[in-house]
Symmetry: C4
């Protein structure tokens, strides 16, 4: 039987992947509280169905910084897709293209950004890990050249966070970092900080707010910050002219013991005050989650682990399958809430429970 | 030993019914969160017993749009009762009649509305799934002709919701749709949308608020909307001259990830402002639940799955047995709360916990 | 090893008593929610320890309507103590006397009130089930004659509540109702309503607020109402000149789906406004529970099931043992909170959590 | 593989220590609610990460009453370290010194304060159990003489609290009380009250607020009160000129059914109004816990049970290992929150959930 929800893809991937690869995909940082909370926080929200409406023509499409998506779900950047399928990011890009949606490619991809660009039919954005100014310059220039639509700078890895399951498994990410084939002598510098199964410090300090101007000066592409988790940082980002914010907990893979992404979404949406686009990832597993995030102000949502699940099942077809389940479920959520436009949702579509999200901050 | 509560009927039905039939009855949509919440939300409410009162003469009777019920529990519409007993809806109608209460008959019944009407001794209402204007006209005219007291239009199935257990079971509802014996050529159109174990789209679009006038023009019968889940829709309904609202989550079988019916009841009662009657189903398993719903403003409550349990145990006698347990328990709840009239309850009969129900809505 | 807490007494009693007797003692009404909540509500409260005080001389003693208790824990009325030990209420009375505290004797005792009075060395109160005016008159006159200090009228059994475990066990309380030896022809009337394992209706209607004057006119003894669960009834009681209120859920054995006793205590204490004494039972298992109840305004607390546990372990010595554990633990709680007088507690001794107790009432 | 978090140390210690020693270390008082709550209350707090900052130079160091610590984690006083390793407190002191942090030595240590002082390279404070005025005078004078930097008076043991696991194990602390070798004739007096596995009353009454002046007059050392749990006592302490408060539940080993230490921290910090230093112990297991406590106003936090775990694994190296894990994790928490100075934290670093901590106090 075909998978009927994303959890089917998950259980099949667990059954088929090598144990350590599976755990690399599944694990979160430290106690994995944030990973768990990403789900429970979505589940605690409830939708408010509306009836007796004309819902024949539902337009699920949206845009991200002008790129068109057939529905408001995109593919998150995630390192090394060969873990799940030999075609790696090429398959992911094809699957995303089959669903007419956007893919963000990771700096740590197993195929190079040029190879992925050649395989893709839909819009791409390039996720950037800053590993020094010259490497960043190289990556940004190549991304622009290769037709990527935006630079998505990951900000939530100022230092590496341990995924303890990977440490116990003595997990070593086996495949090459394809974007650095031209710079093999600098691989240590490059690989040291992204979800490394140890506490090895970054070789280079993270970028600072002040350096964003430098980054923006490298390219005409718009800039998205991935991993912003507070209203305070969102406010600075919007003031700094950033074009988009991807509210994310990195799937709980970086920094444990935080709120879920969706719990931080309202204060961030409020803080940016429509001065930049806001997206969300972390914990999206059902189409109703998409609607919930949109109702709280996100323009689109991304999925990460489910992409690996799709790849493990059936390569590009699996990625496409995952996305189509989400499309069908999101369409269902739109229909039962009486909504016909993903970009023009009515207000009051979800209930927020009494104990949800941050109550107050420590002085 | 005779069953002593509804859960006894449930466990016996589970033991005696074919697995797939049992699962069809038991399952909710998708993750079944709403189904579970329908119970927990009732259990989180507590009653406030009152003592030292003259409670000798307790009048449990009430009315629904003028029809008399011996106590404020009615039989919900639910498709295909032959699933649980060969006498199907005939047995259900007899059991309801033995308890002097009202039955709502489903469009998808296994006996026709005329057959059920002939078997029934108590008041009936006809539940309507709109499957196109001419079919609706046929059904409404026949219902009025056959003596049904109201049309209960189900509004919460604008699109079908997947019950994933049924999909996994490849469940096929075996029996005929008795109300459409005269129109066999249109069965596909009719059967496509009611709790179908797939995502097959409805053949016809749902009715709209504007078309309710047309529907009301077909008949002199009063109109009840079943499945309203928000104050917003309830307000429109009351403004539209609807005669009753059945607050319902469809037992969690349609649309997951919503509040329970009882959690939405207060805002709906408030919204209709006494301009129409309000009923509730979804999750009622104890007589104290009946009192809780009435204390929050419902005029009567319906039971769905328990009817199948009763049928599976003992046909009409089983349905009657289920109803009599609820009557006894509701009478007990009335007595311990010092109440003597189901239609004239005192205020302040239940405690609502801090975290219960919606706190606020997304903007 | 000697039992070190009440749970040790409980597990030993479970191991030694016949199954049906054990279940009769342990069970609560219906789903046993209230029974469970009686514990969780105590556990959710926390004490606020205070230090660096002179706590050498801690006076645990208190009074109940003038009767002296060596510490603020008394023995609740509970039917038929031969269930747990052949010496029944005689042993209980001796155990209570050994601990210099008060015992309330049940109408349904297995030894007569005169026999118990003869065996007792501490103060006694007589718990009254009203079973008709002449029987009540007989019981009240005999209680006054036998030296009981007060009449404790149980108000929370206007109709019997099913303890479903007893029904499944086809449990029959084996022993005689000793207080009615002189009226054997009326035993059916007497026994029909107290925790009967069925739904048999009471033979006589409950007393009403108006009839309390009649009851008070029968005797010079003070009157306590047992089972009051709301501010509303407590207010009427205080206005009616009742001398004491025992806030109780009957251990969850009568009327399920209510708040715990301790959650209702604050509103009741507030409602009586010092016009009568307030006691509490239901769920007390630790000495810190005693302090919590006193901090919320109770003058003394009773224990029910633990008395059976003590009896089952060692008759009078077991009852005494249970009480002495509670004394030791209560003394400990007093000491760590820096308190030296059970009748003169400081304010602010416990924390009440955000979600505890009733939030609001249904309209 | 080396332990990667404190729980690894815990599970290895459980596997290697004799059962009764393990239980003595692990157990809390009575029902162990407070012990459990110490963890859950930390886990319910979430951090607010901040990004794009210059965090190259993170200064984790702090001071406690002028003593320098390389990071804000110190070793709590805990009796009898030979339980876990033959080198006992000598190893602990060496481990703390290797991590350049402070150790508090217990009155009940297995090596004398002079022996520990000789072994230590980092700052020491002496924890005092008052066992009579002459013994206290002896201990305080010796502590000052031996170079201890402060007297840490434990206030939360006015009477002993039962650790029921120890009672069931008939646990007897095997080793000598090294600080009392000179006064063997008074050992009963000394040993009777510290976490004794029974209810044996203290031989001497606790000190009172009035006697603190006497205590302070014995020495020029500053005075810290350990175990304060309420704003009320903290206010008195600050008014009394106490130099520091260690907010502590004694790991839940003394007095059950209280809030966790971290839940009481905010009201205590508020009450002392910067008039003395505030520290915390109880439940710290992750570096993020350290940041949470600091964000709520603590200047440093202590660990107790983890020290035994470290000792059991590898003596001084194990203690050092535990501390270094906490340092690494705390450094990580600082980095991801964009903080560079442990003594100068930004505001708004953590989220406090809706239902956390005390809501209101009983009247």
């Amino acid at each position: 039987m075909d998978p009927i929800n994303l959890y089917d893809y998950e259980s099949r991937a667990r059954a088929s992947l090598p144990h350590n690869n599976w755990e690399f995909i599944e694990a979160g940082a430290m106690d994995e509280f944030t990973t768990a909370r990403n789900r429970s926080a979505f589940e605690d929200l409830t939708i408010r169905p509306r009836f007796l409406r004309n819902i024949d023509n539902r337009d699920l499409s949206t845009t991200m910084l002008g790129s068109e998506l057939s529905f408001p779900v995109f593919v998150c950047p995630a390192g090394g897709h060969k873990l799940a399928h030999p075609d790696g990011e090429l398959a992911t890009a094809r699957g995303a293209g089959m669903s007419n949606t956007l893919m963000m490619l990771s700096t740590s991809s197993h195929y190079s950004m040029e190879e992925v660009s050649a395989a893709a039919s839909g819009p791409l954005m390039f996720q950037l890990y800053h590993r020094g100014h010259d490497l960043t310059e190289m990556l940004v220039h190549r991304a622009e050249e290769a037709g990527y639509k935006a630079i998505v700078l990951t900000v939530d890895t100022p230092v590496p966070s341990p995924k303890e399951r990977d440490i116990r498994n003595q997990y070593v990410n086996p495949a090459e970092l394809a974007n650095f084939r031209a710079t093999p002598e600098r691989l240590a510098e490059v690989s040291g900080t992204d979800e490394a199964p140890n506490w090895q410090p970054a070789q280079v300090p993270p970028l600072s707010w002040e350096e964003l101007d430098w980054l923006r000066g490298l390219t005409s592409l718009p800039l998205v910050l991935k991993g912003v988790r507070t209203a305070e940082d969102a406010h600075i980002a919007a003031e700094s002219g950033v074009n988009g914010i991807l509210v994310s907990t990195h799937g709980g893979r970086q920094i444990d013991s935080t709120m879920s992404a969706v719990e931080m979404l309202p204060e961030i949406v409020d803080a940016v005050n429509d001065n930049c686009e806001v997206y969300l990832d972390s914990g999206v597993r059902r189409g109703s989650d998409v609607l919930k995030a949109l109702a709280l102000g996100a323009k689109a949502v991304g999925v990460g682990r489910p992409l690996y699940w799709g790849l493990a099942n059936d390569g590009a077809e699996g990625v496409h399958g995952v996305l189509e389940i989400l499309r069908r479920e999101f369409d269902h959520a739109m229909a039962v809430c009486g909504q016909t436009s993903a970009t023009n949702l009515e207000s009051n579509l979800i209930n927020i429970p009494h104990n949800w999200g941050p109550a107050r901050m420590a002085p």
